[in-house]
């Protein structure tokens, strides 16, 4: 597959944005500035960024509670994301969604769901709309290995394949549903093996390698856009941090060994992409460092924006309930 330099640099840039965003989140969560739960995407950046690099701006995505990486990968504003995490009115969702519900509809994001697998039917419906309205956008949904066991996934994949809908199911297999290893919760060796049961291609891909994810997704997007139906992609990845910030304070029984985490961290998706660009002489170290520095600066500015953004006013409590307003008598 032919890869152009600007796309590969954009992949690096967005992975850096996610990494620095999450490192900032960890800091401000620790200091008490971020109050709610937050689920860091560190270690999984190549999945969202590689997959979204294969999409057009009018293609739709939906995701889950580990929600910071997906909108940034799709090109959503990091300012809007950071302000949302702080519950400010400048957030994507005006402070009403928070960390688990980031959504920037302006770049085709249909929202992240705090209930795992719950956005899988939503993305399937977006693909149905594409087909019914005779448009050619596709939809792509991110969900985890835990979510793959929900009925919503099964129902959606069956319908999508039955109706040949332009949807790409991307399972981010990070090894654990909180503390439950997927090896103890999935009845087949690979989640992608399940694709054959729905009559769609199942693709197993190295989720630490953004280029591999990009290539697998590009092929799936082509199929979808050509009317050949859905694809299930399982990207093998690893959550470098705990399930959610602060969980280590309550979770006393280790569910994964330190050695396992140390070993997994050796396959850092940012380093893998960096090394690929250098070894293939696509970019120089200086170019990549400039990208990284700029991304770091953008995140600092996002935090500043978020801090300066006002909290919503009390009268905003009842706003955004209805599109067609009602008057309660």
């Amino acid at each position: 597959m032919e890869l152009n330099k600007s796309l590969l640099l954009q992949i690096y840039r967005r992975m850096c944005l996610i990494r620095f965003f999450e490192e900032t989140v960890i800091k401000i969560h620790g200091s008490g500035e971020l109050i709610g739960p937050a689920h860091p995407y560190i270690g999984e950046e190549a999945v969202a960024v590689g997959a979204c690099a294969a999409l057009r701006s009018d293609d739709r995505i939906a995701g889950n509670h580990r929600s910071h990486g997906h909108p940034i990968a799709k090109g959503g504003s990091v300012k809007g994301a950071m302000a949302e995490l702080l519950g400010k009115s400048g957030g994507f969702c005006k402070g009403k969604g928070g960390s688990m519900h980031l959504a920037d509809f302006s770049v085709g994001i249909l929202g992240e769901s705090g209930i795992v697998a719950s956005s899988v039917p939503i993305a399937t419906g977006a693909a149905l709309a594409s087909k019914l309205s005779k448009k050619d956008f596709v939809s792509l949904v991110f969900f985890g290995d835990g979510a793959s066991n929900q009925g919503a996934c099964h129902e959606s994949m069956n319908m999508a394949s039955l109706w040949k809908l332009p949807v790409i199911f991307v399972c981010e297999n990070n090894g654990y549903a909180i503390t439950m290893s997927y090896k103890n919760s999935v009845s087949v060796e690979h989640i992608s093996d399940r694709a054959s049961a729905y009559g769609m291609p199942g693709v197993l891909v190295d989720g630490q390698d953004a280029i591999a994810v990009y290539e697998a997704t590009t092929e799936a997007v082509e199929r979808a856009r050509n009317g050949a139906g859905p694809t299930l992609i399982e990207a093998m990845t690893y959550r470098f941090e705990d399930h959610s910030l602060g969980l280590e304070k309550v979770n006393k029984n280790p569910y994964r060994s330190d050695e396992e985490v140390i070993e997994a961290r050796k396959r850092d998706p940012l380093k893998i992409h960096y090394n690929a660009l250098i070894s293939k002489t696509i970019a120089t170290r200086e170019e990549l460092e400039t990208i990284s520095d700029e991304a770091s600066e953008e995140i600092e500015k996002a935090l500043e924006f978020a801090r300066n953004s006002p909290y919503p006013e009390p009268d905003e409590l009842f706003q955004d309930m209805w599109a067609t307003p009602i008057s309660e008598n």
Partner: protein, 327 residues
């Protein structure tokens, strides 16, 4: 005016809206063969793309309807009250919450048409009257037409509304027929019933009866019988529960000083108890007697014809309630 059945009114509303707007389509189980009657002829007129038979996957296709609506479509989903349980995650976590939790970015013009069977020996798994539960979930508009006129007018309004609407099609009302005007006989050219506007079905002076869905029919029958005894009942049909037109109810209670609410749902945390609570708070000084609720007993629906009828409101129960507070 022509006499129309409740089911034909729903079918006519669906067909009219599908003709008017290409983004309207309908999906559900057994639609093409019109298992529940209200989709007869639709597939012949609009084709399989716009009349979609779904697999038995409520959670999946409820969500698919929501996702399609986010991308400009206006789905009408047909289902049954008892199957709502299977799709609850999409109804509660997504349909009700998406717009608000995304700060108003999501627009979800989906109409759920929900057949509400009961009182026909279908036992516990096919006799649910569960609209109060959705009243308790912010973000859903709840419609409960008690006759064909309102069924047509509310459904057409729902399809044009930009929020998630749930229309509960009452199993008692559904067998009724009523006058529904032809579009050409209506000055505006078509029948649209607004949300949040109760209808005073019968004017009276001694006691207000608010009937929910099939409860309106019980109220009217009670009113007819009590008229012979010289008692004048005022019957109000709220038509929509979210939004709920409390001002019409409060105004009536101001006049009559008494209130009975008839609700086919189970009595605990019902539409009746909500209306009673609101009148107790906002209309207390108009009341001359305690408020009565006539709702379904707090028990599961038994199969036996010897037991099932004991559960639901009846005209006789309405009359008993009125007599208790008239003395």
């Amino acid at each position: 005016m022509p006499i129309t059945s409740y089911i034909k009114a729903i079918k006519d509303a669906t067909a009219e809206e599908m003709r008017r707007d290409e983004s309207v389509f309908t999906m559900g189980e057994d639609l093409r063969h019109s298992l529940y009657g209200a989709s007869a002829g639709l597939v012949q007129e609009f084709g399989e793309d716009r009349v979609i038979d779904t697999p038995l996957s409520e959670n999946g296709f409820f969500g698919a309807a929501l996702g399609a609506s986010l991308c400009g479509m206006r789905p009408i989903v047909e289902t049954v009250t008892s199957f709502l349980w299977v799709g609850m995650d999409q109804m509660i976590s997504q349909a009700a919450k998406m717009r608000y939790m995304f700060g108003g970015q999501a627009t979800l013009p989906v109409t759920f048409r929900i057949r509400m069977f009961y009182a026909r020996g279908a036992a516990a798994h096919h006799s649910d009257r569960n609209y109060p539960l959705f009243m308790n979930t912010p973000g859903l508009k709840i419609l409960c037409p008690s006759n064909a006129y309102d069924a047509k007018g509310l459904l057409k309004s729902a399809v044009r509304d930009d929020d998630v609407c749930m229309m509960f099609e009452d199993g008692i009302a559904i067998s009724s027929t009523t006058e529904v005007p032809n579009n050409e006989d209506i000055p505006s050219g078509e029948l649209l019933v607004p949300f949040g506007k109760a209808r005073v079905v019968l004017e009276g002076s001694d006691c207000t009866i608010v009937g929910i869905a099939g409860g309106v029919d019980h109220a009217l029958k009670a009113a007819e019988q009590m008229k012979a005894e010289g008692v004048s009942l005022e019957v109000i049909d709220p038509r929509t529960l979210v939004p709920l037109d409390m001002s019409t109810i409060l105004k009536s209670v101001e006049k009559t000083g008494r209130l009975v609410v008839v609700d086919p749902a189970h009595k605990v945390c019902s539409a009746a108890s909500e209306i009673a609570a609101t009148v107790a708070q906002e209309g207390f000084w108009s009341l001359q007697a305690p408020i009565m609720t006539v709702a379904s007993e707090q028990v599961n629906i038994p199969y036996s014809p010897a037991l099932e009828p004991l559960v639901y409101p009846t005209p006789a129960k309405v009359i008993d309630a009125v007599k208790k507070i008239l003395t």
